[in-house]
């Protein structure tokens, strides 16, 4: 069932007008209504597309046991609170809020609906009925960084980010740490464009980077615009984010990080149906298949693929962790001692850049 926000409002109103008919036993035989709130459109070929694929996977796996609804283009502001409340009022017992900036509103609305389970993607705040989940994208970034370190001729990469939040900073750091293991002089310049979806601005940011000697582009925004510019200008290449974007840049896409949310959605919905759901932070990665590495592009040589696969497999079997020291910060001072690995909590609050990042103002 697909809904836009306006229809949802009507349904929410209708549901509120109905008296509470169902008993608990009756309610349990009903399908579990699962709501998804997306920051952008499901047609962005990236972040939101991937979450929606996860929703479809959930429907496919659990069939009649679930009934899903999604609301797209919900800004990270008071509007998200309203949408969350409407979803909760219209009988959704499990709600996934899939963007970082929804955090405060999820916590607030969850207090008012203690019988509804909320899960907030990429967040850090939990309560009795709010869990958080994320995927270890930075593991994928380490694979991309390895390829970049091998293939970049200028040793300079650009990184288009949306906002300097830990999730993005972590990806940048992972990328440059991996690249510097290959090329110790490798540097990366993050450019924050203050939006998740403005393809023309992403493309211009890519042009600005390429015109200034950058030959590898990574991005943490939601679309393929930067990759298209990389293709057009014929630079070494870039990386797909969220989904395989080779249709847009058959030569320039070196590989892609694919988000695979489906298994988490199935597991969570099943836990809610079984009554076994608990508030926790779920953060799987390459090993669990929630983060996948897409096909390698035609430009990537065999030995680079082998190096990338080694980094990938090392992270899957646990023998390699990109955030194991020694790690210096961007000023060159030691931040993580040799042999020490950053904890998840330290990663989730990461607000510093590693050596090799030219920090933005």
């Amino acid at each position: 069932m697909t809904l836009n926000r306006r229809n949802l409002l009507k349904i929410g109103g209708a549901a509120a007008a109905l008296p509470l008919l169902g008993t608990k036993a009756f309610a349990q035989s009903e399908p579990l209504k699962v709501g998804f709130m997306y920051i952008g459109t499901i047609n962005d070929n990236g972040w939101n597309y991937a979450h929606n694929q996860g929703r479809l996977y959930l429907e496919e796996q659990l069939g009649d046991a679930v009934e899903t609804t999604y609301v797209e283009n919900v800004p990270e502001g008071p509007d998200s609170e309203r949408v969350l409340r409407e979803l909760a009022q219209s009988g959704h017992k499990l709600i996934f809020a899939t963007s970082f900036g929804y955090g405060d509103y999820v916590i607030k609305v969850a207090e008012q609906f203690p019988d509804v389970t909320f899960e907030h993607a990429t967040g850090y705040m939990r309560s009795a009925n709010v869990g958080t989940y994320n995927a270890r994208f930075h593991e994928g970034r380490a694979v991309c960084g390895t390829i970049a370190g091998h293939m970049s001729q200028t040793g300079k990469a650009g990184y288009i980010g949306s906002f300097p939040i830990p999730e993005v900073v972590m990806g940048i750091n992972s990328f440059v740490l991996a690249a510097r293991k290959i090329n110790p002089d490798f540097t990366i310049t993050p450019v924050y464009i203050s939006t998740w979806n403005d393809p023309a601005k992403e493309a211009d940011a890519a042009r600005a980077m390429i015109d200034q000697g950058i030959d590898i582009i990574a991005q943490h925004t939601d679309g393929p615009a930067a990759l298209q510019v990389a293709e057009e200008r014929g630079i070494v290449g870039g990386f797909g984010q969220g989904a395989d974007m080779s249709a847009f840049a058959p030569q320039a896409q070196l590989t892609s990080i694919i988000d695979n949310w489906g298994p988490h959605y199935v597991k969570t919905a099943q836990a809610v149906i079984d009554g076994t759901w608990e508030s926790k932070d779920s953060w799987p990665g390459l090993a669990e298949g929630e983060v996948q590495i897409g096909p390698y592009g035609p430009k990537v040589p065999e030995d680079v693929i082998a190096a990338a696969e080694a980094v990938k497999n090392g992270q899957i079997d646990g023998s390699f962790n990109i955030f194991t020291g020694p790690i210096n910060d961007h000023t060159g001072a030691e931040k993580v001692a040799a042999g020490v690995t950053l904890t998840d909590a330290e990663l989730l609050s990461m607000d510093w850049y590693v050596e090799g990042v030219i920090p933005p103002a």
Binding site: G40, T41, N43, D44, N45, Y49, N73, G158, T189, V191, Y192, I193, S194, T195, N197, D198, P199, A200, K201, E202, A203, D204, A205, R207, A208, M209, D211, Q212, I214, G223, P224, A225, Q228, V229, E232, A247, F248, I358, P360, A361
Partner: protein
């Protein structure tokens, strides 16, 4: 800064400024006729999806621009019918048109989001644009030259032609124009249609000139910048040209400064983002200091015309 980098920046600035300039020129003519159409963003999105679909299916960029203009006109006619024939509130109708255009383009674009197209190539043969300096003059696609030509054309039309005089008369005093026999509604329909065509072409710039794909809401608020620019430029085409390029320059320099890591990158992102609006404030202050210029807004702007009165 090397010459090559300077040229590359100019080329990017031109790309960023062109859609804003085209859309704002259309809105300028609309407002000169006394109509305020806030639906520019929506019409641009309809133009963008139309342009994209036509390029995707036929591969013909010029046909795409033409049909995008047509789609813009069709969308603007919804606004025209409501505000001119039915005398609905222009502000509310314009806002509704933006919401409509956003939703309609998203609906029409379903299934087109994973489809790449090609950009419209340069107008002149590439031999003319091999040297970097010639690239500044001859390296652009037809849409860019079109935007410059339209600045001249709009200026000439408003200042030098009888039809332009009538249009301005309708915008300054609709009842007087009506009383000497001009059809206020017909003139305004014409202006609204022109604004729609220009907004449609401006929208088509996104998939044809900037980033060869379709993405929902890909105009990302530039239609609103176009509306603001008309006021910024105090309804003057050449000032509009300067304003569009000032906005384009600020939007582009932000990215070059951040990517380049030079002295300009010390300016915080927030300040860059605020700069076009600071510039707007400064210009508005300057305008209001000059007493004569503050009256440059068309006197009937936004007022419905009711001939029975």
């Amino acid at each position: 800064m090397t010459l090559e980098l300077a040229i590359a920046i100019i080329v990017t600035v031109v790309g960023a400024s062109t859609p804003i300039l085209i859309a704002a020129l259309g809105e300028l003519v609309v407002e000169k006729s006394g109509v305020l159409n806030l639906g520019v963003e929506g019409m641009m999105l309809v133009g963008a999806i139309t342009g994209f679909v036509v390029v995707f299916t036929t591969g013909n960029h010029y046909l795409a621009i033409l049909l995008a203009a047509g789609a813009g006109v069709a969308t603007s006619m919804i606004f025209g019918f409501l505000t001119l024939s039915l005398s609905a509130n222009q502000t509310a109708t314009g806002l509704a048109l933006t919401i409509f255009g956003t939703g309609f383009s998203a609906l029409a674009g379903q299934g087109y989001s994973a489809r790449p197209v090609t950009l419209l190539g340069p107008l002149f043969p590439s031999e003319l644009a091999t040297h970097p300096i010639w690239r500044v003059l001859f390296g652009y696609s037809a849409l860019v030259y079109f935007s410059f030509a339209m600045v001249l054309a709009v200026w000439w039309f408003l200042k030098k032609t009888r039809a332009g005089l009538i249009l301005r008369a309708v915008g300054e005093n609709d009842h007087s124009a009506h009383s000497i026999g001009y059809s206020v509604v017909a003139v305004r329909y014409g202006a609204v249609a022109f604004g729609g065509a220009m907004a449609g072409i401006a929208g088509a710039c996104f998939p044809l000139l900037l980033t060869p794909q379709w993405a929902e809401r890909m105009t990302a608020g530039r239609g609103w910048i176009a509306v603001a620019l008309v006021v910024f430029a105090s309804w003057k085409p050449f000032r509009l040209l300067a304003g569009a390029y000032l906005f384009g320059l600020v939007m582009t320099m932000e990215l070059y400064a951040k990517a380049g890591g030079g002295p300009l990158s010390a300016i915080p992102a927030e300040l860059w983002a605020a700069m076009p609006y600071l510039a707007t404030v400064v210009v508005l202050v300057l305008i209001s200091i000059r007493r004569d210029a503050s009256s440059n807004a068309p006197a009937c702007l936004g007022r419905p015309f009711l001939p029975s009165n």
